[in-house]
Every structure is written in C-alpha cells, then in structure tokens.
Symmetry: C2
Subunit: 393 residues, 2 copies
C-alpha cells in the first residue's frame, strides 16, 4: 500500500503494446523513420494523439521519454541554471527561491525542490483545491515565490479535482514575479475509477484568456495507462514556452524514443480505444478502492478520529488520523507487517505539522490483502488515538 504502482493485472492490459510495431515497415509514420535520430519534441502523429488526451493543441506539446518526473526535474534544473524564459534571471542567481506546496501532496515534487534548495511553503488543500486566498495573497506579494506544485485532477493523495473556480483563479493570478510558473502535474487526467468521473478546466486556455499564457506548464504521462517504466511523458505549455524549451532541449538530446510513441498510438488506436482501455483499468481498481474505503468506513466512521475522501479517480486515498498519531500508526502497521507510505512523506521536508496524514495506495495489493490491511489500519488508528489520549506518547 506504499506506492502508486499499477498491479500486474493492470500491466497485462497493455500486452498489445509489445506487438503494436513488429516490422521495419511499421516504423514509418508521417514520412518519418521513427527508428532514426530527430524530432526533439516527438512524432507529429503522437503529438496529435496525446494533445487530445490532455485537451490541448499539438503545437503546445513536447513528448518526452518515459518519465514526466524527468521533464519536471529538467524544467526546474534548467530554470535554476538558465532561467525559465531566456529573459528572467536564472533562479540559482537569486538569494532565495520559494515554491508553494499544497499539502498533503506528492513527495517527488517536494524532493525536487529540496534538492535544488528551493524553500517550500505549505498551502492547505480544501475539497475544491488549494486555499486560493492564501495562494493569491502570497503570489502577489512575494517576488521570490517562483512556482507552485499542483496535481489538479484526482490529486495525490486526496483524489480532489480542482473546481472550475479554483482553476480560473490560478489562471488569473497576478504574481509579483514575472517568472512565476504553475507546475500543473496532470498525472491522472483520464484516470477515473468509477462512473462519476470528474472534469478539469483547461488551465492553458484559461491562462491565455487571462493574459497569463506563459504561466502554466502542464505535465502528464501514460505511466498509468500503459507501462509505468515504458510509457510516454508529455509537457504542454504556450507556444512561446514550447519554442524556448525546444531550443534548450537541442543541447540535451537528439530526440525521444519515437518507436515507443508509435507503439502507443497504434495500440490505443483512437480516443475511443483509449477510453475503453482506461475503463479496464478502472474495473481492476474500483474494487480495491472500494475495499479500502468500505473498510475505513466500517472501522472508523463515526469515531471522530479520522477523515478521508472516497475518490472517483487517481491512485490514492488520503487518511487524516488523530493529530500527532500518523507516525505511530505507520509504526504499528509496520510491526504488523504492512508497509505504508512513510508518515510525513506527503509534506515538504517530510514534516507533517499535525503528524496526521497517511497516504494509502490501493492499486498494487490484492483485494484480499487490502481487506486485511485496512482492518489492521483501522485498528492501528484507534490504538494510536487511544494511546495519545492516554498520554502514552
């Protein structure tokens, strides 16, 4: 239950990917030989396909290797060294660079900031997205704030989708710093787990309308559509941004794996094919999420010592336990033989100020294992709270 890792049965759904391109002839597309060097931003036909998945124009897209985390890291590292747009000061030359971090959030985002020495500021998450009053106030008053991390749909770990109002407020931000950027990690863009799929407003369109076209940088990938290790990552941004990124990328690579891009579009076929494919994932995931949510309900509903949201998509369930007890719950679970994401991991610097949040990742274990694990979890949450109330730690 520790990582958002698809289970083998989910991976088996994409077996057809392995045989989607099997002949030299089949490696040709758009008059391009996908096997050879070139096309730093990816195959035109693949850009066309994946731009639709995240609802942007092909001209706004760069397709990368197998990791959107890699594209995010590269964006930040290049911002440090060269600046975000060829005009602004490189961040490494500034006295201080700060990022806003809606919490709880994704540990890998925070780790990037930490390794670069970017100072992180916690922003509370609400049911409709980050606390926008706080975001607006900070961003408009402090020019050292250069960015914010967002997982806008089925957020990691709460499963919250930002409301239209929140997206529009993001798009309309008036940053004190001209090179403020929104890191829009749209990792779960089409990752519904039931029939109540949520929809997310297009940040690139909204930002353009608000005169902030260059502000959002969107990321996504097929990691949880096809194979986590062998998928395709995507960056989407304004055409001006894309032109600058391509200029920078020229120095780094002669292009991504285009044969694998071809495999993906041939395997998915079209938008309907991809939708049908994602429904198969949902069918495998839904019972797992239900098992955990039902289990939490059964063990903890009405106790007043735990909160969680039943998500309609994504990969996680966020559980807030009695304040001061998350680490203890993690420990109790560990002693019982159940590995969870470490308490604190969902916060910058691994510091949950309330020591309350735990992230549950139900995708990998079996339903039976999840049932038992959730029972133990419920018990652990109650034991920890009781211990706390009794002043035992």
């Amino acid at each position: 239950m520790s990582r958002g890792k698809p289970c083998p049965e989910q991976l088996d759904l994409s077996e057809g990917l392995l045989t989607a391109v099997t002949t030299s002839e089949a490696t040709k597309c758009d008059g391009v030989d996908a096997r050879n060097y070139g096309l730093v931003d990816g195959l035109p036909c693949a850009k066309e396909f994946f731009s639709k998945v995240v609802d942007v124009r092909p001209e706004q897209v760069i397709l990368g290797g197998n990791s959107s985390l890699n594209m995010m890291y590269d964006f930040i590292l290049r911002a440090m060294q060269f600046g975000v747009d060829g005009e602004s000061t490189p961040w490494c030359k500034l006295d201080e660079v700060k990022f806003l971090c809606p919490v709880p959030g994704y540990d890998r985002h925070f780790a990037i900031c930490e390794c670069m020495g970017i100072k992180m500021i916690n922003i509370p998450m609400h049911a409709d997205g980050p606390d926008m009053d706080m975001v607006e106030k900070l961003v408009s008053s402090d020019a050292s704030i250069k960015g914010i991390w967002c997982v806008p749909k089925y957020s990691n770990p709460q499963g919250v989708t930002y409301s239209d109002d929140v997206v529009r407020r993001f798009a309309a931000l008036k940053p004190a710093s001209k090179d403020f950027r929104i890191m829009w990690d749209n990792a779960y863009c089409i990752h519904d787990i039931d029939d109540h799929g949520e929809s997310l407003l297009n940040i690139l369109d909204e930002a353009e309308k608000a005169g902030n076209a260059e502000m959002p940088i969107m990321f996504s990938s097929t990691s949880k559509m096809s194979y986590p290790g062998s998928g395709i990552a995507l960056l989407a941004a304004s055409e001006k941004n894309i032109a600058y990124f391509k200029k920078q990328m020229f120095f780094q690579t002669i292009g991504p794996d285009k044969v694998n891009q071809l495999r993906h579009i041939r395997f998915f076929g079209d938008a309907d094919g991809l939708t049908a494919h994602m429904k198969k994932h949902a069918k495998l995931l839904a019972p797992k999420f239900a098992t955990v949510c039902d289990g939490l309900e059964k063990e903890l509903a009405g106790t007043g010592i735990a909160n969680w949201i039943r998500p309609h998509g994504g990969y996680f369930i966020s559980l807030d336990v009695y304040p001061g007890c998350a680490k203890r719950v993690f420990e109790l679970m560990k002693n019982a033989g159940v590995t969870m994401t470490e308490a604190g991991a969902t916060f910058p610097y691994h510091k949950d100020p309330q020591d309350s949040n735990l992230r549950i990742a139900p995708s990998f274990p079996s339903v039976d294992d999840l049932r038992i694990a959730t029972e133990i979890l419920g018990l652990s949450v109650k034991i920890a709270a009781a211990e706390k109330l009794l002043g035992k730690f």
Copy 2:
C-alpha cells in the same frame, strides 16, 4: 553526408528488436517486472550485458534512456548546479569554468559547454590522440579547467583511436583541480568497418591504478548498434561516482525504459551475437567509406592541398583542405546540391582557426550518391584552393 546517421538498411538489421519481447511473460527478468517502476540504474541483466561491451564491471554502470548525449548533458548541468561529487563547489558558483576540447571534435559536446557558459580551449589532435603535452601542462597548472571531451575510439571526426600511451597519460593526469573530469565518450567502442579493428585501453582500470578512479566518466550507447532513436545509453564510472550519480538521479526519474533494455539483450543474445550484428553494419558501411576514401585519393592524392585518414571504424572521415578554404568548399558543395556538415562545426564556437576542416559522414547516402558527391567534393577542394591561391577571396 552531413550527419552520422545510419542508413535504413542498417536499421533494418535490427528488425528483430521489435519482436524480441512480445508477451507479458517475457517482460520478467531477474525477478523484476520490467514493465513497472523502479531500478534507476537499469535492469541487472542488461547492466551485466552492456558492461561487457565497454569492458567494465556491472557495478560501474548506469543504463539510461535512449541518448548518451542526454547523460552527458545531465552530468554537466548537475555539475554546474550541485558539483561533481557532493563535496566540490558547484561549477556555477565559480568565476570561470574551462574545458579542453581536442579539435576537430564533436559539435554536440562543444554545444553543451557553450550553452553552460563553459569556456573552451582547443587542443590539437595527433594520429594517436590529443596533444598530451599540452593537456598535461594545462590541466596541472589551471584549476579552472574542469574537464576535457574525448571520443577515444574512432574519434569524431578523424577516426583516430587513442594509443595505450595516450590513455595511460590521461589516467595519470595530475589536475590542479580536484574535480577535474574526463568526459570519455566511447560512442564507437565496437564500431569497426573492416578487419583491422583497433583496440582501446580501459580508462577506468588505468585511472584506478593511477589513483585517479573518480576522474574518468565513460559514456556509450547502442544508437549505432540498434536504433539511433530507440537504443540504450550507458554511463560507466567508479563505484563511488556511480553511488553519487544514483543519489542525484533519484530526484529526476523513477527509472529508464527497462522493457527496451530487455528487447536489446534478448535480440543481441550474447557477446558473439552482438559481434556478428556489428559485422553486418560493417559490411554495409565499408563500401561507403571505401567509396569516399578512394574518391578522395583519386581526386586529391599528391595535390598537397588536402589531408585525411582512412579510418578503420566509426562514422566519419575528417578532411583538411587548403587553409582558409573550408567555408568556400562547403559553399561550392551547397551550390552543387550536396549538404555537408557546416565548415567550422567541428570546432568550439564554430570557429576553425585555419578554416580548413570538413567532416564527411558517409553512412546515410547510397554508394552511388557518395561516388558523385566525392567527385564534386574533390573538384570543390581544388577550385577553392585555386581561388585562394589566386587571391580571389
């Protein structure tokens, strides 16, 4: 003739790569599901296989994505931001960083330095490698010199393999700067084009013996074994270096495309399989190199206005024309409809001080096209020299 790009017939040799892994079951190796996340340094079995190709130990290897250029760029960018070893000052914090560049050399190496603001110093190339007297003198006296670019086997563009003596002198360098690094781009490690294949001493072993284990960073890839766009890149270095790089890479990626690594080792099979495969490449390349070298011989031998070496491997022929004439030759060729690598491209800042060097890349065009192009080239070299001697430019 402008780029070191394999021709379609060469790519067809690797058609079997496309069907080397076709079932979910076949994605398992070393108890690992190659489809899922993990293993930032690559699949153990693939590390085992490719470490032998470049004659190092598996523990000295990190397998990357499809581009060794990407691994080199990342190494330099991280050196700028974080320093090379977790102890030294990040290069971006220094007043000046310099690199030595044996010339003529690979334009993409020089481009990385240029974009980072690293000052480049030309080092003449001899028949056995770079001018080591000059390298030793500079490296031992100037602490702002942080690195040198090397293509030690079948060098780009001369096709020169560094002699054992040169490799040992590299390994025994006594740099003024503790964080001086040798960028050892072993791109053509097994890329013979005839039966007179040359051999290269192992720089990692030699450096270790000389007490300089951390100094060399080796790079290689399968770009010109399988597919240029869909191959596997490799970095090899001391185990101490590897441990540090893996720690840094944790922030960047959850791992490379391991299914593609499996495809490669299943397709090549074993060392003999890879050797046999490389012989097929050689069979396609040899007549092309012969056509160009014979053509140059026929047109220019004995004229005293041009020099070149007939290489035994690699992807290029380096042609030195009458001083001050390379740009004019490029122009004459262009007017005649033949695209060559731009004159100057083989030097830092695109500045060939002699305006004399041209790089010929025979792999992509057909033998017939190469015959005609070499004839035109011979003619252009003679016309340009005559014009120069007559004071026409």
